[in-house]
Symmetry: none
Subunit: 279 residues, 2 copies
Amino acid sequence: MLVTGQIWCFLLSWTSRGKQDVETITAAQYFFVYNAFSFTFATMAATTLFLWISRSQVGAAYKPALTISGLVTAIAAYHYWRIFGSWEGAFQVREGVVVVTGLAFNDAYRYVDWLLTVPLLLIELILVMRLSSSETVSKATKLGLAAALMVILGYPVEIADDNATRALWGTLSAIPFVYIVWELFKGLGEAIEHQPESVRGLVKHARLLTFASWGFYPLVYMIPYTNLTGATIETGIQIGYTIADIVAKAGLGILIYMIAVRKTAIEYKDVGKPVPATA
Amino acid sequence: MLVTGQIWCFLLSWTSRGKQDVETITAAQYFFVYNAFSFTFATMAATTLFLWISRSQVGAAYKPALTISGLVTAIAAYHYWRIFGSWEGAFQVREGVVVVTGLAFNDAYRYVDWLLTVPLLLIELILVMRLSSSETVSKATKLGLAAALMVILGYPVEIADDNATRALWGTLSAIPFVYIVWELFKGLGEAIEHQPESVRGLVKHARLLTFASWGFYPLVYMIPYTNLTGATIETGIQIGYTIADIVAKAGLGILIYMIAVRKTAIEYKDVGKPVPATA
């Protein structure tokens, strides 16, 4: 975590062009965020199409996992489309200079997105494990609610103006996060040991990806604690959340797809198998 | 890390490349590029629909190749839509005269596009060859990462103002390119010899198309080295990249489709075969 933080500072020192507030964002910072939003929209939309088209290649038990995984990236694609539009509305670049239009940049879209997608991310992980239906419902409910609570309690951290408020709500938000981590590693640990050997590694990767990418969000929160100010902070926050979203949503979706395809090959004899021409 | 930092630095120093260059663009040049962008959007979108609709005509093993091929053209269609909009925003034609609006023309969309699509292009070629699953994952990972690295290292060439910088990053970017060519011709060479005879020629064509169309991009890079200036360079770059994109993405997609259909006819007895009316 500390190493990641140092990498961040390093990254931010490159983006730094003196102490500025958001109103004096440079054209380079503006376009960096602009292109990152467009890239993320394209990535999320492409992942959605891939996951939904690929439903036909997995056994019936794994179709819901791909449906939900694609839903997460579809919701994210919608929100990145909106965030992109809001960013375009807030600034214009004329003659290479950024002009502030006066319209607010709304990135509360991120919280609206997380409130929907973060519980669904845990649910896709549970679905691809194919537990008993009672276990699936129980774990999906508990983890889904904890995830929603974590997002709600994290919102005041984002909008706070002082570090005391940030610390209070950050701590409260960390409680459901710790519970989720405990459930993922202890509660689901035994279930993972019962997964077929060929996917056990992949499921553990998916769990680690969920944990690591979520751990990245608090680091982005912490950017305002640094000595950096204004437009550099804004750029850092936007790029940081964007990277975290791509890893947590599109990255996890692809892992879920790989797990579903491998388990289908083991558990279904009639899906996706070639019929030899000579048979 | 230092290299990454330098890349970021270049990325951030980008404002609006060649702004002064394009101010003297003629109406004919403006409309040539404008119509080329619209044509390319239509080509990419149509290819996407064709490839996805055609999934039902190929065996299960070839569906992922068509899914990914359609994803590449879908991502390209999105980016041409955006580039078209940015071009429309940067200029207006009034009374037959081009008026510069002052809004920046953003063609960083191209790099954002290549970062996603170039690795996927190699993956579609590997998928249609139907190697063992471990070989597929290993080759897709190695070639995909090399392709992403090639695009990232190529970006400073695009935004550089001097030929020394262009030469440095162009050389660095050529290293993963040479590795990819080596993998395509040496690493995949043996696998191609094991393809059914009726598709061997097509697979070699697909490989050659990939190599030749990618080799076209550095030629477009080199346009600023010529004695041409301003709007002519800009027009040449835009039209050059557009042709390369159509050949590399839509062209390769159609070849992948032909290979998948022929291999399905050989390997599957129940897909796409006519049932005699008298049976």
